[in-house]
C-alpha cells in the first residue's frame, strides 16, 4: 500500500497547542506512525510551536506531509531568528532558560534541520515511516 505523497496538511500556530497536538496526532496515525513514535513527534512539534510563540515572532504555521519514506513536519515562524547553529548537540544545563525544546527534538526525531531564508526560519522534523 502506498499513500499519496503530495497531500499536505497545514495548521496555524496559535495559543491552542492542545488542538495542534490533537490534529498532529491524528495525522501521524493516518500516516502510519504508531505508539511511542507518535508521542515523540507530538512532543517535538509542541516544543517547536512553543519556540515560535516565544521567540519566533509569535505566529507561524505547521505543515505535514509524507515524502514516501518519512513523515515530514515543517514548523515555520515569522521572525527568522532560528539558524542551523541553534540545533543542539548537547543537553542544556539544568539552569538554562532556553534550548530544552531543540534538545528534546534532536533526541526524539529521526532528523532535525533548520532552513533560514527571507525573514523566516523553517524547522523540519522527520520521522521514518514503517515499511509497508
Amino acid at each position: 500500500m502506498f499513500v499519496s505523497t503530495d497531500w499536505r496538511e497545514h495548521w496555524p500556530i496559535t495559543a491552542d497547542l492542545a488542538l495542534l497536538r490533537e490534529q498532529l496526532h491524528q495525522h501521524a496515525a493516518d500516516a502510519g506512525l504508531t505508539g511511542e513514535r507518535i508521542d515523540d513527534l507530538v512532543i517535538s512539534v509542541n516544543e517547536a510551536a512553543i519556540n515560535v510563540l516565544e521567540h519566533g515572532g509569535g505566529s507561524g504555521s505547521v505543515s505535514a506531509w509524507n515524502d514516501g519514506t518519512h513523515l515530514v513536519v515543517e514548523v515555520a515562524d515569522t521572525a527568522g531568528l532560528l539558524t542551523p547553529q541553534d540545533l543542539r548537540h548537547q543537553r542544556p544545563s539544568p539552569g538554562a532558560t532556553r534550548g530544552f525544546g531543540l534538545w528534546v527534538m534532536s533526541q526524539l526525531c529521526d532528523e532535525v534541520a533548520v532552513d533560514q531564508e527571507s525573514g523566516r526560519s523553517r524547522l523540519q522534523l522527520r520521522m521514518r515511516l514503517p515499511a509497508h
Partner: protein, 130 residues
C-alpha cells in the same frame, strides 16, 4: 479546546507538613504559569514536603517541567523535599530527555510517596504528632 490542567489536594492527617497535589489533564506552555500560581497559593508556610501525583497528567512539555522545577526550588529553599509519583511512559520520557528527572525523587505511586514520607524520621513527624 485549549489545554486544561486541574489540581486536587489530598490532605493527610498523619503528614501535616506535607502538601499532596494531584495534577490532571495536560500541562503545557499555555497553562503552566497559571498552575504554578495555583500551587504556590496552596503551599502553606509550614509545608515542608510536596508530593505531586502526576498519574492523571496525560501530557507535560518542557515548560511544564520547568514549572515543577520552580516548585521544587520553593520547597527546597525552606529545607523541604519534593517527590513526583505516577509518571506514565510519556511523562517519564520528557523528564528523562530534558535531564530534569534527576531533581525529583520519583515514586511509582502517590501511596508509595506517602508511605516513604511516613517512614522517614523527618521534620514532618512534627512535635504535634507526639
Amino acid at each position: 479546546m485549549t489545554a486544561a490542567v486541574s489540581l486536587a489536594t489530598y490532605p493527610d492527617d498523619t503528614l501535616p507538613q506535607t502538601l499532596i497535589l494531584a495534577l490532571e489533564g495536560q500541562l503545557d506552555y499555555t497553562n503552566a504559569e497559571q498552575l504554578r500560581e495555583r500551587a504556590v497559593h496552596l503551599l502553606a508556610d509550614d509545608h515542608r514536603s510536596l508530593i505531586l501525583d502526576l498519574s492523571e497528567l496525560t501530557f507535560c512539555d518542557s515548560t511544564g517541567i520547568r514549572i515543577l522545577l520552580a516548585l521544587r526550588t520553593l520547597i527546597t529553599a525552606r529545607g523541604g523535599s519534593i517527590s513526583v509519583a505516577g509518571l506514565g511512559p510519556r511523562l517519564l520520557k520528557i523528564f528523562q530527555v530534558t535531564g530534569l528527572v534527576q531533581f525529583f525523587a520519583v515514586q511509582p505511586t502517590r501511596a508509595d510517596a506517602v508511605a516513604l514520607l511516613r517512614a522517614a524520621p523527618s521534620a514532618d513527624q512534627s512535635p504535634s504528632a507526639g
